[in-house]
Point group: C2
């Protein structure tokens, strides 16, 4: 049993910046890249792989390249709900940016993929050395905050179908294909609703020609139609992310 399970390669000359698909890593300056690169390692991110555990120290920061992370808030009675997703546009470990060393929420790969990671301490050190790096990470954290706020809005005001559509769109934005490899059960957990409710809603989507389904997988067929179902519950965090990332130095 190796601690290095999943590590594809450590970062060396062979792994050039041209290969970087994470948007944050792609955006930073050469100088900031030089600060991070020695600590980065490519890593496979298998579905259900745990990335952060509530109230536990954060070991690594993950820059997702493919796949989707679910960030799930949990309370004492084990009620849980997804408060945000992270894909190649972002990173895990935002509490580190705020000077905290612990995770508040549960975080795990909802859709498998791969990415790069680095030890938390090295990340914190780098942000302290480079104000420009720190600034970018703060913007990324803010984008995630906005996403969480709109999740709160959707949870409180949107119907199941709209929330489900919103989730599919957010996943689709972060995937390279139209296929979303997930069971109804996991969609239900994320949305905090019954599995059966998801099944019925997806069925309705399928009848309307919005998606196609297979066991353990669904495929977006008519994205515009899904956007219509989500209505205005989808879009603002995405627009804000774009703005924040384009404005950034």
């Amino acid at each position: 049993m190796s601690l290095e399970v999943g590590v594809i390669s450590t970062n060396d000359a062979a792994s050039s910046r041209a290969d970087v698909r994470n948007r944050l890593l792609a955006k930073i300056s050469e100088a900031d890249w030089a600060l991070l690169a020695p600590h980065l390692e490519m890593i496979a991110l298998k579905e259900r792989q745990v990335v952060e555990v509530p109230n536990k120290p954060i070991a690594h920061v993950y820059f997702v390249e493919t796949g989707v992370v679910s960030v799930v808030a949990v309370n004492a009675e084990d009620h849980r709900i997804e408060v945000g997703v992270i894909g190649r546009e972002g990173m895990t470990g935002t509490p580190l940016i705020f000077g905290d060393d612990r995770a508040q929420h549960s975080a795990y790969m909802q859709i498998g993929g791969n990415g790069r990671r680095m030890p938390a301490a090295a990340f914190v050190d780098a942000t302290k050395r480079s104000p420009s790096l720190c600034a970018l990470m703060l913007r990324s954290a803010q984008a995630f905050m906005i996403q969480t706020a709109h999740t709160a809005l959707a949870n409180g005001r949107a119907k199941l179908e709209a929330r489900l559509a919103r989730w599919l769109l957010m996943a689709h934005d972060r995937l390279d294909s139209d296929a979303v490899p997930l069971t109804h059960e996991f969609l239900a957990v994320m949305l905090g609703v019954r599995r059966a409710g998801v099944t019925v809603a997806l069925h309705s989507f399928e009848r309307r020609g919005l998606i196609a389904t297979r066991r353990g997988q669904l495929t977006l067929v008519n994205r515009a139609g899904i956007e219509q179902v989500a209505g205005s519950f989808y879009g603002i965090p995405e627009a804000e992310l774009k703005r924040l990332m384009s404005e950034a130095v």
Copy 2:
């Protein structure tokens, strides 16, 4: 018509630190206080007074001393819901800490009071000069983030009564009295539910001896009982705030 409506006094020798009731301002070092003090002014914060407007530049940072600010997310179809409250433990204008100049959400005084404010530019300047000040503000922002995440959880999983109880507790934490001067209508807007639903729920609380009600006001009578109704949907953000503020330098 004066722009200075509401200003009680500018900060001068007469307004010493001993008078500061905002917990953030109370916590900062003498050096950081010296950085902020020249720009701070005491200000009355009347109920419904608007503090931030979505997509508009943030003019001032408000350090609340008494009263409660509601931060409300709004989307294109004008669906809205409260994503967090701010009282004497915090400040408005968190986007500034992240390097943004605009507000994402609507923010206004839900319960009137007073506080201190300073121009956004002066605040940003101060955080750039003082790493310790910046660090504290980041922790404050993180505490607010945690609150928003748990609002998302409550919105998705808790029943109306539990959410209402949670809100009353959060307000109570930020007030000096047991009286909460609010109409059912406003509680309903914040929770994103019907006004009539709030009326019925409050009625039930009253019958159980948890609160007393008057037109436009309710009074907490049995806080422990209300905590029981809120269950585990209340508490985590409060504990995390405490931890973050006690750990801070």
